[in-house]
Amino acid sequence: MAHALIITAAPSGGLTYSDNDVVQVLDGHLNPGGSVTGTSSGFAFVYVSDKEHDDPDVLALMAPWEGDLIDPNDPDMRREQLGKRRYTVTLADAAHLTWVDADSAEAAAITKTWAEIQALTGDKAAV
């Protein structure tokens, strides 16, 4: 049974996110919207079979990519934001480009375990 739905920016998807960025984590039983589920929408989808959508591990995939403080001595200074997302999840299989509902996800082969997701996860800050 799928739980969390991870939506990423498919390569060449024309989204405002970098390729393979985790755009959003949703409750797997929610429809992401008619413009998201449409054919060739630019989004990629993967259900996480063993994590809920509000699990801190999953939510952490939506952390922004921030740099250091411009002036660490100024208490009013904020961190520099380098990008929308720090983490990527690369979904190579073309099956992930088509959204199906949670009940059909396993049959469509777009369901993975959290361990499998972690293996596909990239951290821009680690580069």
Binding site: G14, T16, V23, Q24, P32, G33, V36, P64, D76, K84
Partner: protein
């Protein structure tokens, strides 16, 4: 012309979240160059919480300008209404990095950190009509944005940042100047409403108008940069006040929440704590102190709620309209000789508590409206007047006038108490005290007790509801007065009245209603006879039973037919409602028919007003009416599917109030009422009224018979013929053919049939008839069937429904053959010399008997 592309956000919409919409924004237009496409994108979000941090940034992929841009707003009907967290509410930060972005009408309520963020130096952005709330960050943080011609604009925003948080943090972070235009925002912040600048070598241009700071502090500037500050009409507290160059007048002010009257002199900004709206109070010193849009085009012409803002002056803050709160008047310690005055208090829950009023003081004439009200005047000494308080409204709420301790010689005044449950209970009224003339409406009780000798109870007027007058313990020689009670159930229960006391002359009306009266044979009915009956109503909504069917067995069809005559007294163009009901024998209405009768100078116009059904299930199978003439209307209704067995069904007429002459019930004239069931033959008894004697008529047409003919031979084959019709019941002449001339060369002649006025009936021959001359030596003329019209000669004119067919079976005419005198004689020996004069009405069901 810019093409606007609208996309929806919400469950089941184009995008489930702002994040997904933002991610896809470059794929929505024809291309990402909205300027080249001449397109604009509008995202409309449904109401609800969106738990996400939204960053609108395409990294330069999207090309926009001031009109070909992206707007983030709410769907129709999903606005926040000025309430924090309401409407389309982003529970997270909304960061804008894209130039020319418009964010309009959303709520932004992050659980922590900054709420609305502008960074990466976009130009021409507009944030307006937002409800922004944060508890651990800054409500609006703008790192660097805008140019001199395209500043970053924040206007009409309602901002709440409690604790140590700030409303605005305006910086010029990074390389380059920043330009901000901040107009008509309400900022309720624990720390500064505006924190300006950052240690930078850039220049920060800030322009502020009509901002209202109602938190702890207004303004704080960091150092190390160049600030170019402009603006006016900003109001804030005295701690860290606005710079005098941009401050309004008066400024600084003291913000006070939920206060109508601070009671102490000062400069106040009085606001409603729940919303930040300014309070409508003469003590609110900032009302109208902002600059208006006609004097400054940077001031928006509508406020955060879309209410208009116009003129040369306006209110500071996001809300233009004022809020009315409940005022409280608590005068205390009013010494002798002081007057309380005449305060007028309107809406909300109001308490007037005048205490410690000494002798000779006047309580004045307070007017208190709406809400639950208590007027408690206590300790009113001798000679003091309670005044004339007027307490109104508050239906269902308890209102109380409790004047206690009124000594002798004091007047209770003339309080007026209107709807709701009210009690006036002046106890202990001593000798010589006048209770006054209270006017009580609605459900009330007047309970004067302990009325002593020579005291007058007055003349209270009670109307509506169930009033009670319960004077008790009235000793000798006291007068109860002349109370008048009308309508509803009323009780007069004076007890313990000893000898020689006068109870007065109470007038009670209502209760048992007078039944209508039926007067038979008032005017000429459609059958031409004086058989129509009139029903006169003394009281409205009383009814008379017209007809009754026999016991039904269920599932039967019942037809009811009747004539009624429109009230000729109706003025031209006016109307009346005639109500007929069919009830079962228990009195339950199973069908009610309302006829609207409009009258003009010529003929009545009849329309079906409404048909209501109650009881056990009649349906109307047929409903007809025909406006015939002479103001008569023939009606017919057929009902089916009556499921209640063993019930008689009665037809009633109910008196309705006059439409234009209120309080009167129309008289109705009826004739020919009958009830039938289609699956059986009604008996004669069932065709007659069972009560009221409404229609006393022969259901079948009158028969006038007996023909007497006369004949005069004029020679040269000319004859004069006389025919006399005689009513066989009265033996009076009924009609007569006066003249006939026949020429042997002619075979068709006209007979003129006329008669004196007999029983108000005149007969005219309508058509030529063929009369053959008598055969030589023959005994008779040959007269075929003759058609006549019957004219009513009474006051009501023609009754065309009674066009009749007269059967002149002329072979039976007889005459004398003696030339000369006309002789009328019963025809003989030709036997059967009868003319049957059938004068059939068209019965209610359209048939002729």
């Amino acid at each position: 012309m810019v093409t606007v592309i609208t996309k929806t956000i919400g469950s089941g919409k184009d995008y489930a979240s702002f994040t997904l919409a933002e991610a896809d924004v470059t794929n929505i237009g024809t291309s990402a160059d909205l300027v080249a496409n001449d397109e604009a994108i509008v995202f409309e979000a449904d109401a609800g919480d969106y738990s996400e941090n939204v960053t609108f940034s395409t990294g330069g992929a999207l090309t926009c300008d001031a009109t070909r841009n992206v707007t983030w707003t709410h769907a129709t009907g999903a606005g926040h209404g000025g309430v924090f967290g309401a409407g389309a509410n982003i529970v997270g930060a909304f960061t804008v990095q894209e130039s020319y972005t418009v964010v309009d009408g959303l709520s932004i309520s992050p659980v922590s950190n900054d709420a609305f963020i502008v960074s990466n130096a976009p130009v021409g952005i507009i944030a307006q009509n937002l409800c922004i709330e944060t508890v651990t960050g800054e409500a609006v943080y703008m790192a660097r944005a805008g140019t001199a011609s395209e500043p970053a604009i924040v206007r009409n925003c309602n901002i709440y940042a409690p604790g140590s948080r700030r409303g605005f943090d305006l910086q010029s972070n990074g390389v380059g100047d920043a330009h901000y235009l901040i107009v008509n925002n309400t900022v309720n912040s624990g720390s500064q409403a505006f924190l300006i600048g950052l240690n930078s070598s850039d220049t920060l241009y800030v322009e502020l108008y009509n901002n209202l700071a109602i938190g702890g502090r207004a303004w704080f500037q960091r150092t190390g940069y160049t600030l170019v500050l402009s603006g006016s009409n900003n109001f804030g507290p005295s701690t860290n006040p606005f710079p005098s160059s941009i401050a309004g007048s008066p400024d600084p002010i003291t913000p006070l929440a939920d206060t109508y009257d601070p009671g102490v002199a000062g400069d106040y900004a009085l606001y409603e704590s729940a919303t930040g709206k300014l309070i409508d109070s003469p003590h609110n010193d900032v009302v109208g102190q902002g600059v208006g849009p006609s004097a400054n085009s940077d001031v928006p012409t509508t406020d955060i709620l879309g209410d208009p803002r116009s003129g040369a002056t306006a209110n500071p803050g996001a809300f233009e309209d004022l809020v009315v709160i409940s005022p409280v008047l608590t005068p205390t310690g009013i010494a002798s000789g002081e007057a309380f005055g005449s305060p007028t208090l309107t809406p909300g829950a109001v308490t007037v508590t005048a205490t410690g009023i000494a002798s000779v003081e006047a309580f004045g004439t307070a007017t208190v409206q709406t809400g639950a009200v208590t007027v408690t005047a206590t300790a009113i000494g001798s000679g003091e007047a309670f005044g004339t308080p007027s307490v109104s409204q508050g239906a269902g709420s308890a209102q109380s006038l409790s004047a206690t301790g009124i000594a002798s010689g004091e007047a209770f005044g003339s309080p007026e108490v209107q709807p709701g449950t009210a009690t006036i209970a002046p106890p202990g009224i001593g000798s010589g005290v006048v209770f006054g003339v209270p006017n009580l409406l609605g459900q009330v009780g007047i309970l004067p007790v302990q009325i002593f000798s020579a005291e007058a109870f007055g003349t209270p007027t009670l109307s509506g509801g169930a009033p009670q007058l319960l004077p008790s313990g009235i000793p000798t020689a006291e007068a109860f007065g002349s109370p008048t009670l009308s309508q509803g159930a009323a009780q007069l229960l004076p007890s313990g009245i000893p000898t020689a006391e006068a109870f007065g002359t109470p007038t009670l009306s209502g209760g048992t209603l007078q039944p209508p009266t039926v007067t038979t044979n008032q005017i000429v009915a459609p059958n031409g006879r004086l058989e129509a009956d009139t029903i006169s109503h003394t009281d409205q909504y009383t009814y008379v039973k017209l007809e009754k069917s026999g016991a039904l067995t269920g599932g039967e069809t019942i037809s009811y037919h009747w004539y009624f005559k429109v009230d000729s007294g109706l003025a031209a163009g006016t109307g009346e409602t005639i109500t007929f009901s069919i009830k079962d024998s228990g009195g339950t209405v199973v069908e009610e028919i309302n006829w609207t009768v409009a009258y003009d100078d010529a003929t009545p116009t009849v329309a079906l007003g409404s048909t209501t059904t109650a009881g056990s299930g009649y349906t109307t199978a047929a409903l007809e009416y025909v406006a015939i003439s002479n103001d008569w209307v023939r009606c017919s209704i057929t009902l089916t599917d009556f499921g209640s067995t063993g019930q008689d069904v009665a037809v009633t007429h109910t008196g309705e109030p006059g439409a234009t002459s209120a309080g009167t019930a129309y008289d109705v004239t009826l004739w020919g009422s009958e009830v039938t069931t289609l699956d059986r033959t009604p008996t004669a008894n069932e065709l007659r009224p069972v009560s009221g004697g409404i229609v006393d008529f022969d259901a079948y047409p009158a028969e006038h018979r007996s023909l007497f003919g006369s004949y005069t031979d004029l020679g040269d084959n000319q004859y004069r013929v006389g025919i006399t019709l005689t009513d066989d019941t009265s033996s009076a002449d009924y009609a007569r053919i006066e003249h006939y001339q026949a020429n042997s060369a002619e075979t068709t002649h006209q007979i003129y049939l006329s008669s004196p006025s007999v029983d108000d009936i005149d007969l005219d021959l309508l058509a030529d008839v063929l009369i053959n001359p008598p055969k030589p030596g023959g005994p008779f003329f040959d007269i075929p069937l003759i058609t006549h019209a019957v004219h009513e000669l009474g006051n009501d004119g023609r009754v065309p429904t009674t066009v009749a067919t007269f059967g002149y079976y002329a072979g039976h005419l007889g005459w004398w053959d003696t030339e000369g005198a006309v002789v009328e004689k019963e025809p003989q020996p030709y036997g059967g010399d009868k003319i049957t004069v059938i004068v059939p009405p068209v019965r209610g069901n359209g048939s002729t008997p």
